[in-house]
Symmetry: C2
Subunit: 191 residues, 2 copies
């Protein structure tokens, strides 16, 4: 489960519990392109595993069918690079199951990490998180779909990462773009 960046990092895309536009806790639908884009980013940055978390049976079936097409079906022959990315995907019922699985594989409970579009007190910088995870601590980055992770899920996380922030106050990146940027900040090397 060790990522080749030196960081032992996994990511999870949460479909429950997340909030809707009105702040109510809901279960969101799985989006095809989230799985593709985030798997491709995960593979590019040496992420150990990409967990797709939904409690809904029909959504789990849909996600599994999609992944199977690209990992063992016609898609694998059509585009082997896509196969290599999507085989990082594991579909799980809930976050607790994901945490237990990583703990079992590593002999150590992962630090759960959330990001927030708005600044939060006690949030850590990307450099600080790189150092923490560089000490062999398994990390699990949580990404919320819809209008973001439910407050209880945010509050239960071990680490809050600084917001991505661009230029000025506008901060409405897609979860696909935010994942790509955060992985690049944590694992990328460039001058």
């Amino acid at each position: 489960m060790k990522a080749s960046s030196g960081l032992n990092l996994s990511i999870a895309l949460i479909h429950y519990p997340v909030t809707n536009k009105n702040g109510e806790v809901i279960t969101s639908a799985v989006t095809n392109l989230d799985l593709h884009d985030m798997a491709r980013s995960a593979r590019t940055y040496g992420v150990a595993a990409f967990y797709v978390v939904t409690p809904l049976e029909d959504q789990k079936k849909l996600a599994a069918k999609l992944v199977d097409h690209w990992v063992t079906g016609g898609g694998a022959r059509y585009n082997p690079n896509r196969c290599e990315a999507l085989q990082l995907i594991h579909i799980r019922d809930n976050l607790e199951q994901v945490i237990a699985e990583i703990e079992q594989a590593n002999g150590q409970r992962p630090q759960t990490i959330v990001t927030c579009a708005r600044p939060q007190s006690g949030s850590v910088s990307y450099g600080a998180l790189r150092k923490t995870l560089g000490n062999k601590v398994p990390g699990l980055l949580l990404f919320g779909t819809a209008w973001g992770l439910a407050p209880d899920c945010m509050a239960a996380a071990n680490i809050i990462l600084d917001p991505v922030r661009g230029i000025g106050p506008y901060n409405h990146l897609s979860v696909r773009s935010a994942t790509a940027i955060i992985l690049d900040r944590l694992c990328g090397e460039f001058s």
Copy 2:
């Protein structure tokens, strides 16, 4: 047309001329989520304009309908943040038209910038490009759909940017993710 990052940067998503899996030059179809994700990234990083380039009349109509929904239609009321992002979109026939338009607005021809998944001789670093564009030179980042920009389009660019590169040789990010990462490297601030 001045971006608030201090860089005068625009982006263009090219649907022709691009290559298919077999290296043949084709016109690709407009993808809804490319427009959303790239507009949201563009708005977040203070990009001056996001040009969607396709010569096909039906595709231009489709893209215009989509943009209209979010900029002046029901979508604008439902999600004003999305409106703010998608109003950066301009649909144009070809790259020459885009370059002429930026030149006219700035009194200076933009430097066209391409990125390539594979290392190229003479490619420049993100830091070097930031410095070039910091000197008030308008920049136009070109992103290819399908299997990437056609060789002639690549060869005609003024600047080749270093590949994004993650961990190891795998480099198959979506155009949505690549755009987000490149804008963050050029315009983002983080520690």
